[in-house]
């Protein structure tokens, strides 16, 4: 019964955040499309836009999915349901991770496929890709952990600034 409630809470978070996810995926997809144009400007814009999409998703998601629920006083409504604080935390961690990893994974796979399908792959591009795609992931993990532990918007913003200043 409790696992069913946790699943319902995770699906609830998906429903609440799906617009943000769709916009991030659409923005990342558009950026990848720009990379296909035979133009240096389009390549630069597309590259920057792609990483901005990933970083924005990783920064905004913990705030909108975790912090806002406390700020907008939705927490008493959820805690009146048959769950414990631990189960709520588990559902929140699972939904936040899933909401980021799926679009991040999709965009990273799409970008990697595009790079690998080029005829002339520069040496060292693969480790560089891992580093560049991994940075938004690490940043997201740090911001999400800060948001889950502190439940404070101030601390989440501080973590966001710290991650983006790397």
């Amino acid at each position: 019964m409790s696992s069913r409630v946790i699943q319902t809470l995770i699906l609830k978070d998906w429903r609440l955040q799906r617009t943000q996810i769709l916009i991030s995926v659409a923005a990342g997809g558009l950026a990848l499309a720009l990379l296909q144009l035979k133009s240096e400007t389009a390549f630069l814009v597309g590259t920057v836009w792609f990483f901005v999409s990933l970083i924005a998703l990783g920064s905004m998601l913990p705030v909108s999915n975790v912090i806002n629920e406390r700020k907008k006083q939705n927490l008493p409504f959820l805690m009146s349901l048959p769950i414990s604080a631990l189960q709520y935390a588990i559902s929140k961690m699972a939904s936040t991770l899933g909401l980021f990893l799926l679009p991040w994974g999709a965009l990273v796979i799409a970008a990697s496929t595009l790079v690998m399908n080029r005829g002339d792959i520069p040496k060292g591009i693969v480790p560089l890709m891992f580093i560049l795609f991994g940075l938004p992931l690490v940043g997201f993990c740090l911001i999400a952990a800060t948001a889950l532990v502190s439940e404070s918007e101030g601390w989440a913003i501080a973590a966001t600034i710290l991650c983006n200043s790397w």
Partner: protein, 272 residues
């Protein structure tokens, strides 16, 4: 199984500038208990402790026979809780919230939910953001009542409502209260509102004080006053009173000999 819906034994909670000290409270099944007191008296803290939202520092809490907060999950299946600081998701519709609750609670009564929609004048397709404060309170109560809980816990359910909205909500809660199979615990600082509730002998109230409790109050489903009143003053809540007194409000501090604050003082019967 215990005959009591709610049991608190020696419950205490300490905050830097406030403490609940050794609370005993018993609410039998089918009883209606009101916690009445001024702001800061400890009503919401007590309710949060028995809901398992806040862990007590000492004492034992049982709700519907379940220990709290250890067995809060099992208890919450049969509890409907609504508080004044509870908010629904603004961007979602009332229908979404109803479906959300229905997916969790197997006891969800869909026809009753539709009836409440009609009685409260709500539209399921409307987003919560577009509702007024009174409509949001009604929406929250709809979500609570339609799941048919055995125990209803309401923390200041009518605060901030206009008289018409308050009347509509009280009318619906009265229908719930007349169901002797259900227990109700509510908190309020408005005694007049709840005195009108036609629940007969099942309604009992307990007074809470905003001062740190210096003696052990006993709330045993009856009435108790935790203020050290003078013997010649009797309030409506005192079991020794022989007449009912009308209270127009709740004083912010205990009455003092030089400046009595009870609106209608009563004399104790002469001895001898």
């Amino acid at each position: 199984m215990s005959d009591l819906a709610i049991e608190l034994h020696g419950v205490g909670k300490h905050y830097p500038f406030f403490r609940l000290d050794r609370i005993d409270l018993q609410v039998p099944h089918g009883q209606i208990m009101g916690l009445i007191g001024p702001n800061g008296a400890g009503k919401s803290t007590t309710i949060r402790i028995l809901m398992g939202l806040v862990q007590q520092d000492c004492g034992e809490v049982r709700v519907l026979g379940r220990r709290m907060p250890a067995e809060q999950i099992a208890a919450k299946w049969d509890i409907g809780f609504a508080s004044e600081d509870m908010r629904l998701y603004e961007g979602m519709t009332l229908a979404w919230h109803m479906n959300f609750i229905r997916s969790i609670y197997p006891n969800w009564d869909a026809p009753y939910a539709q009836l409440l929609l009609k009685r409260f004048g709500l539209r399921a397709v409307q987003t919560i953001k577009g509702l007024s404060h009174g409509q949001r309170v009604k929406a929250t109560l709809l979500l609570v009542l339609a799941r048919r809980p055995r125990l209803l816990v309401l923390d200041e359910p009518t605060t901030g409502l206009d008289p018409v909205a308050r009347h509509e909500i009280l009318k619906e809660l009265t229908a719930v209260m007349t169901d002797e199979g259900r227990s109700v615990l509510f908190s309020s600082h408005n005694t007049r509102t709840w005195n009108r509730s036609p629940t007969g002998s099942r309604l009992s109230t307990a007074a809470a004080s905003s001062t740190p409790w210096t003696r052990k109050p006993t709330w045993t489903g009856g009435v108790a006053c935790v203020w050290k009143c003078r013997p010649e003053w009797r309030c409506r809540l005192c079991p020794a009173s022989s007449e009912s007194a009308r209270t127009d409000g709740w004083p912010s501090s205990p009455p003092t000999p030089s400046r009595p604050r009870w609106p209608t003082p009563m004399r104790a019967p002469a001895r001898g």
